[in-house]
């Protein structure tokens, strides 16, 4: 739920209760004001009545004016002075129902006689007051609802705009990209503060990230010279006469490890460089031609393993890419297709306008294929499992979709690249 919607819900609840309260108060206040007003009128009527009665001889017992009623009752006994104003219900013959009146009831002594006097005035019915009031409240509530709706829309477009700008920038942000994220000034304190804190946080993360990258890069770089020393010493030692078999074995194992370590270093260094976007220049690359040249390099390996290569060029395919990365990408894929192939196996390469497929025969992989592109997930102990993570990284950077499929019955491994 959006913050603004949530806020609106609460607002509406508050509005609702406020309106109900206002309605009820209004109802009572109106009633009170009307009665006060009527009281005044009735007092005035009383004054007029007394004045009129003291002048004239006859006493008209019953008078019915358009808006009020006067009713006089002679009392046989003497009455003490009395006065009361209240509401009273009186049955109306015409309308056949009780009507509410405001009435002043007082006693008066006129020329030795005592009278009960009543002056009444028809009140507005409570229901006829409550009805319109209820409609008014409902109308007001609806009006608020509509206003709130448009207000919210306006607010979320205007006021929350910087927030959504920040959000979309953060969503698109990639740590690996070198350009710093710029969060604009918003004129809203909260958002400015948020942007500022985000900026600081991201700079810190970025700084740490680059330190780590630099460290990896430097380490892999700095390790090469000591490795070169070790390798050269082993090589010199190898030249010694009279080495025993076991000594040769040790040297051989050391040499293999140095070799492995330097390959690991190379691959890690390359990965870091790709991640750091250090391959800038783009060139038009004829993919089919590149594949052919790579296959040519591997000709003797293909021959030794007796692998048959079937190339299909359905459409010509040219992509804009860094030539070094394109080279590494295709090289690694073809390398894998040969490496994980079987003797007398096959490789089928298919080039279409939107991508390429490289399929090869081979035994089922022992590793979880969902981890295939992850670093250090390896099919055998000889490799580091960096080849495909390099491939994946190159694909990521160049907006290429890569997927792997294994058809068990036919023992086919298929790598599909889709160029977007």
């Amino acid at each position: 739920m959006k913050l603004i919607t949530q806020k609106s819900y609460y607002l509406l609840i508050v509005y609702f209760f406020t309106l109900v309260l206002v309605g009820i108060s209004f109802y009572y206040v109106t009633n009170y004001v009307i009665r006060e007003e009527f009281n005044k009128i009735l007092y005035h009527r009383k004054y007029l009545l007394i004045k009129q009665l003291s002048k004239s001889d006859s006493i008209i017992k019953y008078q019915n004016f358009s808006d009020h009623l006067i009713f006089i009752q002679e009392s046989p006994v003497s009455l003490s002075p009395f006065e009361q104003i209240n509401d009273t219900l009186i049955f109306d013959q015409n309308e056949q129902k009780y009507l509410q009146y405001r009435q002043i009831h007082f006693t008066q002594k006129i020329r030795g006689n005592y009278y009960h006097m009543y002056a009444r005035r028809l009140l507005i019915e409570s229901e006829s007051l409550a009805g319109p009031l209820l409609i008014l409240i409902i109308f007001l509530f609806l009006a608020l609802l509509v206003t709130l709706f448009f207000f919210n829309r306006w607010v979320s477009h205007k006021v929350w705009k910087p927030f959504y700008v920040t959000l979309s920038k953060l969503r698109k942000y990639q740590l690996k990209q070198n350009d710093a994220i710029s969060l604009p000034k918003t004129n809203i304190d909260e958002f400015d503060e948020l942007n500022e804190v985000l900026g600081i946080m991201m700079n810190r993360i970025k700084h740490d990230f680059y330190l780590l990258k630099e460290f990896t890069e430097n380490t892999s770089h700095e390790l090469q010279t000591p490795l070169a020393v070790i390798k050269s010493k082993i090589e010199l030692l190898m030249q010694a006469d009279n080495l025993t078999n076991i000594q040769y074995k040790y040297l051989s194992a050391s040499l293999a490890s140095v070799h492995k370590l330097s390959k690991l270093n190379d691959s890690l260094g390359l990965l870091v460089k790709i991640e750091n976007n250090q391959f800038h220049n783009f060139e038009k690359i004829d993919v089919y031609q590149l594949i052919e040249s790579k296959l040519f390099n591997y000709e003797d390996l293909l021959q030794i393993k007796a692998i048959e290569v079937i190339k299909e060029k359905i459409d010509p395919l040219e992509i804009m890419m860094n030539p070094v990365l394109a080279d590494i990408l295709i090289e690694n894929l073809i390398n894998n297709a040969i490496k994980h192939n079987i003797v007398d196996g096959k490789i089928i390469i298919n080039v279409r306008s939107n991508g390429i497929t490289i399929a090869n025969t081979g035994n089922e992989l022992t590793i979880d294929t969902s981890l295939l592109f992850q670093r250090f997930s390896k099919a055998n102990s000889q490799s580091f499992g960096l080849g495909l993570s390099i491939v994946k990284e190159i694909c990521n950077q160049n907006n290429i979709e890569i997927s792997y499929e294994y058809i068990k019955e036919k023992h086919w491994h298929t790598m599909t690249l889709r160029f977007n």
Binding site: A228, V229, S232, K233, E235, L236, M238, N245, S262
Partner: protein, 225 residues
């Protein structure tokens, strides 16, 4: 043949000069740019082996200077930087070859020899060894003056062996030399055995002695005596 090695890691320097000296090269060395410039201005060398990361500057600067001062010499860069861009940069400013650390000394030796051959007259481009003769300018191998047809890999292998004759060469060094990037050790050993078998067969049919000696697990030696 005089070689100047410029490398700040002394132990590596020792290894290089130790290996190359055995090949009848006269090896001299400099540990930094300053020293290298000093030597450069006083003596001429046939070959320079230059490390890029030197304590007092980049070896690339030195390569430029060498190219200007002694354009006839052969320059090999040895560097820990393995990317294609670094290689291209090095070659563009005048280096003749680029070797990534850690390298095999046998590989360095092969590169030095191949480089030095490049500047020699055609006659001297021929590598001769007993009944074997390799005309490197036309990639031809002769046994008792009769041509033996070798594949590209077999030719490279033979030349590598002869260049590093009487040396134990590790299988890994040969694999690296022949196939470069292809890294799967188990398989590449198989490929290597196949190549060596074929080479031996072709040479022996042509009446050449079998000079290639298996050295227990670790590699081979092209035995000259």
């Amino acid at each position: 043949m005089k070689i100047l090695v410029i490398e700040d890691e002394e132990e590596l320097l020792n290894s290089i000069s130790n290996y190359l000296q055995e090949e009848q090269f006269h090896c001299e060395y400099a540990l930094d740019l300053k020293n290298a410039r000093f030597r450069l201005n006083r003596e001429t060398f046939d070959c320079f082996i230059v490390d890029i990361g030197l304590p007092d500057g980049s070896g690339l600067e030195l390569v430029k200077e060498i190219k200007k001062e002694q354009p006839e010499s052969f320059i090999i860069i040895i560097s820990a930087k393995s990317s294609t861009e670094n290689k291209v940069e090095g070659l563009n400013i005048g280096a003749d070859d680029y070797l990534t650390k850690p390298f095999d000394l046998s590989e360095l030796n092969a590169r030095v020899n191949s480089g030095l051959r490049r500047y020699k007259p055609v006659k001297k481009k021929h590598v001769e060894f007993n009944e074997l003769k390799i005309k490197t300018d036309i990639y031809q191998v002769l046994v008792h003056d009769i041509e033996v047809s070798l594949t590209k890999k077999e030719y490279d292998l033979l030349l590598y062996f002869i260049t590093n004759k009487n040396r134990v060469i590790s299988k890994l060094a040969i694999i690296e030399h022949l196939w470069g990037g292809y890294q799967d050790s188990n398989e590449s050993y198989g490929f290597l055995y196949a190549q060596i078998k074929n080479l031996r067969k072709k040479l022996s049919i042509a009446g050449c002695n079998d000079y290639i000696e298996n050295i227990n697990r670790i590699g081979y030696k092209f035995r000259a005596n």
